[in-house]
Symmetry: C2
Subunit: 476 residues, 2 copies
Amino acid sequence: MFEEKLKEFEPIFYPKSIAVIGASATSIKVGSLWVVDLRSAGFPGLIYPVGSSGGRIGDLEILPSLRLIPGEVDYVIVAVPRQSALELLDDCAAKNVKAVHFFTAGFSETDTQQGRKLEEQMLEKARQGNVRIIGPNCIGVYCPEHRIPLLMGILGEDGSVGFISQSGGIATKLVTIGIARHINYSKGVSFGNGIDLDASDFLQYLAADPKTRVIGAYLEGTRDGACLFNTMKEVAKAKPLVVWKGGRTEAGAQAALSHTGSLTSSAAIWSAMLKQAGTIEVHSLEELTDTLLIFQQLGRGRGIRAAIIGGLADGGGGNSVAAGDACMENGLKIPPLSFETKQELSKLVGEVGGILCNPVDLSQAQFRGLATLFQAIDSVVRDTVSDVVLIQEDIEILLPIYSRKGLEEINEFFIELAKRQNKPVIVVLPPGSVEAERLQIEQKLLAASIPVFCSMERAARAIYRLNQYYCWQEAK
Amino acid sequence: MFEEKLKEFEPIFYPKSIAVIGASATSIKVGSLWVVDLRSAGFPGLIYPVGSSGGRIGDLEILPSLRLIPGEVDYVIVAVPRQSALELLDDCAAKNVKAVHFFTAGFSETDTQQGRKLEEQMLEKARQGNVRIIGPNCIGVYCPEHRIPLLMGILGEDGSVGFISQSGGIATKLVTIGIARHINYSKGVSFGNGIDLDASDFLQYLAADPKTRVIGAYLEGTRDGACLFNTMKEVAKAKPLVVWKGGRTEAGAQAALSHTGSLTSSAAIWSAMLKQAGTIEVHSLEELTDTLLIFQQLGRGRGIRAAIIGGLADGGGGNSVAAGDACMENGLKIPPLSFETKQELSKLVGEVGGILCNPVDLSQAQFRGLATLFQAIDSVVRDTVSDVVLIQEDIEILLPIYSRKGLEEINEFFIELAKRQNKPVIVVLPPGSVEAERLQIEQKLLAASIPVFCSMERAARAIYRLNQYYCWQEAK
């Protein structure tokens, strides 16, 4: 599907050479940052800084014009004021550049006729010169495999999640949250006003890209709704496509107009469209990253019947009630445990002070040692009534009871359990008063491929969405 | 209202003497912990440890029986197995004890006839002996003013928020989150199965208590729905009453039955009842604490017209769109800024690269220094179109641009601004990759009475609920 896009976008995501317009040896300019960041990231191609200052950035000579670059240039990053945009596109055409990314802002997003007019002229020049435009008003391409970092040199690990985002700020957040939560991207792009290459183009490319297994999108508007709908429909058949539409409300839409010049349609129309196309709609950055994380880690849904384990050492009663509510209200099924499992639990932790149905409250295990706790958890995980297991781990309660060493044993057990069992084990680590320890444990679990969420609600919603997608796909 | 409750509950929240049944000099028992914790907290009354071991806990002699205590006993904490419950109630009656708190579990929550029968007998004995029961299966009273800590010695600052919770785990969470977020409690109680003193009794007391200005409740069920409804209706007339009902779903209700023996009615019936009574219904611990925080800090609602300021240094476009959506979807109004404010902003930060409507994106201020940023914020806050100001502060972005010193100046400005302006200023600090700095700033702002939330959604929902309550109250 869309195989032709792979070749077409090769100079964008895997350029052999990049020119940066707006580099300077004498003052700190965004263009200079880009040159330095590409260098530091280990970009394997040629880098050509261009600017009027002359001089060098490191060992790279700053040339006064794109046209004076000796070799071929695949990709150009533009960080000079909008007044130079048209001339630059002439230069790009002359140099046979494949694609140009305009970091430059001040176009239709200013809601002026001048801004809109300039965009039209740019597009015309680009078509004539056979150059593709990314942006303007965006931070462009991210490709860890080809060592292209985001603005500010942000670079995470190479992975299987693709993203597109009209907003550079959201693109940056996706990558920084990705680094923190081990969501690893194959490639991503922030395309701002999207006057030429638009959401549809990049989605088609990511659908074709063999490295990309799931796609996340932050969109504010589109110039061609019908094309976007048809593209999404095709893409969602092949890969999970998670879409966050910004500008659903009057205030959001007003901001979107000023942000990327996007004229947004009604939220209801977008929602209907996204649903019909088979995409997964989310409503915030948290939901988007939660959903990408679960798709990345679980591959595909195994079902929505969840076993919930809480109160590993204490205080599990009310939390079990809350966890049951949170999971069911977010679409999961909480089946009763089998008679055998209940009997086993009753033998292990006793009848009083715990909850031996589902959600399970293992508070009483604190009086019987970790080995008993682990046996009890194992027994719940083995019970075939559930497709997935959610464990509520409250560090604030566990730390004083089991100390750091016990906590380490508990989390090592989770990691060993997740490896041993052919059933997803998901850990919920609610924030509290021992954040340093919590973040450390989160990193350890994530590194072992265990999905971690900070609330039962968010975990449940992500699991539900994962399964919803595969149900929809199978029903096709 | 309910003034008679003040005297009746004086021995519970302000006891002159407490006896702890189940203390031991030779083994670590919960009873002993209670004695030590009351002592460490500085409880100003007399403490009498009771247990069969003999010996001492610190300088306190452990007596073999409640009846052998030389002086009067107001309040008794029971941490011995259920088999002793009835005999203990005889002892309490003999000693003219006012109230007894059963930490002891193993009653109706085990869903056995034996458990239910024992509760009935306890209640009968209590009535005969003129003793009130708190629990069983709970962690009892919390009163910072009278230095009564929660189990494990947890003790926050004295304040104006009252709480009741059937769950001890949730009560503990309310207090630990309170300590972290500067939600300070006047008093609270966890009452478990609530066989005698129930939600209605404690709500009446908190309504009468002059120290308590807002009340939070976590409930799983009630033995007398009509009484609870009438009580809530009365209480909510006088003070904001925020209610989280656990066990709304089948799984939650099943857990609630095993947790506090609560038979829960349908979620829809509870919701309708809570609404009719004029309470504020919430659905999670996060929502409950968010709402208590905003009531504590803001006193009463000033309106729902919000000005949103974001992108203090960069990356504010997409975030502004998202913030606008989050606020409107959670009930706030986002009015356009006045013409004068827009002009001022345009002069201060320029037209390109920011958003000069509401939500405001001040990304471009990074090129003009902090003084300009502060002027721009000031101008938005002064604009009379808004009742409340929400500032999105993304430490992850600000730190590399302004360094630690700049960040400090920014937050000092917020504190000064909040003091100077007669308009609530609320800060949203989203979690990210610099958690240590973020938590430090959160503490600083909270200490200066600025409400802090970790997402725009949660802030908006809390503000909306605050105003909804006062609208309802005024419409009465």
